[in-house]
């Protein structure tokens, strides 16, 4: 795959520790984790709306 210098710059800032942890999980575990993040995001969004 051709290297894109802009992408290469962005890659320097990718937290690979998170990726390595994810790669230890099964696909289903990754999707369950994603669902938990979506729920948390929604709760935070609602809390922010109430606080305004």
């Amino acid at each position: 795959m051709e290297r894109d210098p802009v992408i290469e710059e962005y890659k320097k800032h990718v937290d690979r520790t998170l990726l390595r942890e994810n790669l230890k999980l099964t696909v289903e575990q990754r999707l369950r984790h994603l669902m938990e993040l979506q729920k948390l995001s929604e709760e935070l969004r609602l809390a922010g709306r109430k606080a305004r």
Partner: protein, 160 residues
Amino acid sequence: MSVDYARVFAALCDGNVEFILVGGTAANVHGSARLTQDVDIVYRRSRENVARLVAALGPFDPYLRGAPPGLPFRWDAETIWRGLNFTLQTALGPLDALGEITGGGGYDALLAHTLEIEAFGQRIRCLDLRKLIEVKRAAGRPKDLEAVAELEALLDESGG
């Protein structure tokens, strides 16, 4: 609203819908740590498959996401056949049903670039990591730069 992946996959697979998981959820399948709020699928554009897609999602009240209530939108095979890409809100969460994606084309063009994954008791076709990077690059959106960087890092990490 979160996506109920187990029920989305069950509905589509039990309904024999030919589809490929793409987008942010496919990125998560490959190990991405980024949050996506919806599920994107590319469905096969055949009359039979469109009918199956309509039947499978019909019980979950699909409606155009962000559209004001009361629009004359009908979730039926004719509507899907006349259109192409639909961003939907459903009772199972936000779902984008795409006939084609930029840089990748439709179901038949993408099929050779998929892998079969297993989750929630279902076997699902998911876009492979290299093609996912290719289509994200092709989309060319500034917001995708970080996503592409992460996917390429995943490719490095997995020895690709």
